[in-house]
Subunit: 225 residues, 8 copies
């Protein structure tokens, strides 16, 4: 059953008015979907709204290829793809990541921010065990309207960053680690218990969610990029 | 050792320049402190900065009395006290709570928002099991620059609210519940796994942290109250 | 050792009088069984009771093929198969699911209901983050004698549904999610702590168990379909 | 703010139309409320609806006394009170409990059933370690439209009962136990993993929730008591 | 470095006097070892003690083949192999299992008992959801000197058995189950919290450990088989 | 309702034939019972069976006094009482404990063994951090038919003991510890994962259960004391 | 039974040669002991070894008074007491603590270090949310032979310190926090997952253990104080 | 962006001054890196500092081959590689392991110690279930400046070792085990709760971290090898 508001692809009913309701773009969550399904949903959404980008996340290598085959731009590190023109940006989000292994989650956050209409600036490899790296970029932190801080293992980076700035900080734990990291639980608990006030937290590896929240704040704050 | 920047009360070294660094007011975390200690820190901070409010949270009944005795205004439901004039407000924070038992955490969040320079509007008893109550206040949600959503038990309210608005949503789980709520863990996990994108989460019962984060966003967004 | 009451297939002793004792049909739990074993048990049970359906659940793609080869009807989404004529139905079960990924569990529940002698009506994609979809089907909820509500992630849907109706509600959490969903634990805890009174819960991904419980209630209530 | 639909007592907004919406009576959850608050809510609700009972649960000894002082009937074992005439009953609920220590939860379930309009029959001390006691009451199990099974420790009773009957079974774990019972977690997990199909589960110590669910089923099944 | 007491195979130092110290046979734990390593250790131990059996457990299909190639007898269900003559038996161990999926653990327990010098009698498919099956073999329980009870899911069988007999009962939880069974945790907790006094418990899936403990008791009790 | 087989005291139905069925004495679990209830049950059971002992465990100081007042012998360290003549003993149980704080659990185990008809020999303060103490009593370990090993904190003692003897070993974890002992969980997990084969485990602080299991084994082994 | 090596006080057997064996002083763990017992053990140990200090930890206010009454020096913040002359020191231990609430654990660590023969230097209130405080004492970190780092909440301090120095770092988590700190679990996991190599960890609130480990290292390194 | 202090390889920014800052060598953490990436980082670091060794850990078989191809020495058991000359050694670290399966973690610790400038002496197969093996090497324990103790399952070895020596002991739990070992959690908790004072702990399977900590201590203690 397809109508104006939804497109029924058999395996999924695609909501075509989401962007109107919330101001956010359409997003395809790729986990558990076949490459063909990802490509078909991307195409369907793009046809309805050719003037704005559709985002697909958590893509396998095969799904990235299928997305490319229907004209999408592939973002390899973020394991994501976009189809359609990106929006103009309002506001700026700084995205800090602690270690090299956190890169995919940080990249997903950055791409999500961009697709949701804010500028994304990535600052990488500023883990707390090498404090000089963070202090070296201290000034750049103040240039952002909101910060996303991505870290695995003990997840200490948001506490240190949160103590340096008055900017809103969104902490994103990753599953990077082993043993007693318990799949990111250690980082998650660390961030929830941050001694720096004003830090809020999203689910483990949820770069997308961190990006949506940050973009909403950046757009509201409204520095024109 | 006391100097210009800190006041050493013996049992605590009080940081007197915190407000200058971060734009946030001084805060006394009352848990584990005697009523006398709470009163003394409040007084010391107030003397240094008589022109702005000091906030004390997590106060026992006795600590609230001791705070009142040194001139502080006591906020019984929030189990908190303030000493000194409240700042002018910029931006507005809506604070929704699910049930009557969530009131203390919601009140702590609201007071924190106000002390941190934003307007706080509380909307109570809008738990998801009586959806008509939430839908009845639907329009008021859009009047806020950011929403704090406080809930215990299954913690479902942020997901429902997050699906209705494009505003940033900060979810605050409470320890209200019993048995398999495991002291608020069920609500915390529920909020972290919210199917509504853009919801961020703070620690269990952390109304203060939710308030700080919300106030920072509201002030940045900057609608003059 | 085979007798009138059991059939010993070597790898399993099949109970042939279960239906007489409980009023429920024979069921083959396919997980951990080879395609050949599934097919052989289906055939054996069907030969003894050709007049009523046998249900096989949790089938691999190979096991579904093997079941089809012995004449069974395959239900792909539910990953299940039935062999023999379905019973007449008494009572009606409404089966709500939150998201597309919950479809296999919802389909298993629906098929189980049907095989256990009640009518099953599926209502899909009514997750709480898009409340208008649930409210649009509000009237259909009252047409069921009992509701099965299937959801992963934060598992909030049963609370919302339980607040709308006076009908018995059986909540079925799914393992859909990642990170702090901990394989469905978040949804399970959310449902156990539902603020809507009268919600009962089954194991994670246990569409079969939810279906059995719902069918028993629907048959007892006894509206003839 | 009080109106026709709610009564605002300052510390709580009492919903006066709940019974009309759901068919269930008003209930006061006593945990965390003062004896005075319990008594006042009971009185207020009774004045509005003098023709039907109000139920108060989880009462301290002092709250039970305060309830008695405003005319309520106190149910000591259930730690509950009712004010107003009980409704006529439709359908019958059997409530089994494993050990003596499970009595308060079983009594809360039984009283809830009765207040919600169904007959409640308690069968006590039928724990699985003394199977002869359960088998001795085997016939009485079939006389109920639905069974509530209350057990702590390993929570095995619902599995045994569920294998004996085709009646819907609602399992209610209790926090009875010590050490690795982890406050009822062992019983909860045991019941969720029951090998008897058709068993559904409520939160630990949630006799009230089990009673509401059972009464709804019993009323729907509709054997006139 | 090899000497009279140990044989150094490079990848493992094999203790050749263990049987003398404890009265137990040599055992090779196959998990994590290559088929070649399993075969080599079996052969080495057998050469030193050709007059008594060596046991290898937790074997892959390939390791079972490699064991067979050096003359060992393979026990497929138990995923184990023995090399050398089995000892005479003293005492009798009854091994009960709840469901078909528990068979490998029960078989490992039975073989371990036999290799450790006691008679093993298996009783299968006596899960608590079909109590008549257990009651039908009631008399056979008394013929054993000690009982091993193997069950997954809710792990209720040891409680029921422990209430029927005065014999020592060793409960062995299995990882059979899904969702909230958490890999056998539910069964483990159920058994540890058994309301039947005198039940002791081993690790999840530890049929070997249950067999060693049972054989020691049976040999001590000493009924000649 | 009282009859020949049970005595109904209002708050409990006392099973008077348990000893006949299982060979074990009557036991009153004192936790959650008032001193008066403990005394009354002790007296009732004693009157019916004046020729054998009744055991009451987990007694408060007040309950021990009440038990003494009806003629029971009080065992202060074990927090238990016995009323009636102790049985003759068959077999011997060695009870080892690691530290001073483990004494109450070890004493409960020893008294339970004695009341259940076996000799109990306690060996105290042989924790693994002072190995010389354990090695000094090495010979005494072999004099027991079965060993109960009581330890808190890391629970390592059963592994060390289990490596020294071929005797059955029952490990009893205690809640002695703090922080990451998590109420005895660390000791429990340690014992379940013992690298010494043949160790079985009971619930945390369950000296009674360990004693029952050990006495049954000792009586079966049957060395006349 | 008392001899040269032990003193049997009835409630405890005191090991009088521990210091000779390990080079560490005698220590009385006060938790769970009466004030009288603490005082008696202190006195007994002091009489045997009047030339060196005895340490008592985890003392209640009453036990501190009892210790003072037998001549011990009381250390209020550490909740500890010492009796007898402190040893000369070798090596230096730096003890950093994050917040005011961590003071008791840090003080216990410092006193333990001192009693075990090393110099202890405390550096307080250097939590990561105010990085300038830590950086201000950067030079003092290098003056220690080993560092003990005490922190609750998210436990991030050891990672930051571990990235600044090449000195051995012992991390001690505290139970300071609430909600998802789970009694210190968050800090413990954070420290175990530290991204700074070379950090080792002790149990939650175990200032004593951290102190013993640090003193052993400092003494071995051997800078004469 | 590459400069004097870092080398930007595209997929990673390599810190070239780490050794100068901390005295530790460069280390490549191989998990999650391709064989080509491992080889490239090894080569780059070696070119900058040809006079000292670079260490790569957690290598797949393919990564070990790629490392060998660029001239690195491969350490198969440790799953690691080194490139460049090893440093002279100061101090000695004893590395004890409990069972054969713990060998890879122990080997990683030993290699890390050696690369970090201390002598490493391995003592294998001294698990607590065969105490004679540990006691046979008792004298060798005193020859080390610090001990690393590696064990899985119940993790009891550090407690036994810690009771024998006054040397600093670093405990390293491994994930060896199954069922209720929960991936090494049982061993980790056992070690954190050790009754032997002075034991510190690292993350599960973190032989590298144990090695770094031990080498720092050994170098500081400074016995010239």
């Amino acid at each position: 059953m397809s109508d104006e508001r939804t497109a029924d692809l058999g395996f999924a009913r695609v909501d075509l008015e989401r962007a109107d309701r919330t101001g956010d773009p359409e997003v395809v969550y790729g986990a558990g979907k076949t490459p063909e399904q990802v490509a078909e949903i991307l195409s369907t959404l793009h046809e309805r709204h050719p003037d704005r980008a559709v985002l697909a996340t958590r893509l396998s290598t095969e799904a990235m290829a299928a997305a490319a085959a229907v004209g999408a731009e592939v973002h390899t590190v973020a394991r994501a793809a976009t189809l359609g023109p990106l929006p103009a940006t309002t506001g700026r989000v700084g995205i800090l990541s602690a270690g090299t292994s956190d890169a995919p989650v940080a990249a997903e956050a950055a791409l999500t921010v961009r697709v949701h209409g804010a500028e994304a600036v990535e600052i990488r490899d500023v883990g707390v065990a090498g404090l000089h790296r963070l202090l070296a970029v201290r000034d750049r932190l103040d240039e952002a309207d909101v910060l996303v801080v991505v870290a695995g293992m003990e997840g200490a980076l948001p506490s240190v960053v949160g103590g340096l700035v008055g900017t809103p900080v969104i902490a994103c734990p990753t599953s990077v680690g082993y043993g007693a990291s318990f799949g990111g639980l250690a980082a998650l608990l660390g961030m929830l218990n941050s001694c720096a006030p004003g830090v809020t937290v999203v689910n483990i590896d949820n770069g997308y969610g961190a990006g949506v929240a940050a973009a909403r704040i950046a757009r509201a704050v409204g520095r024109q990029a």
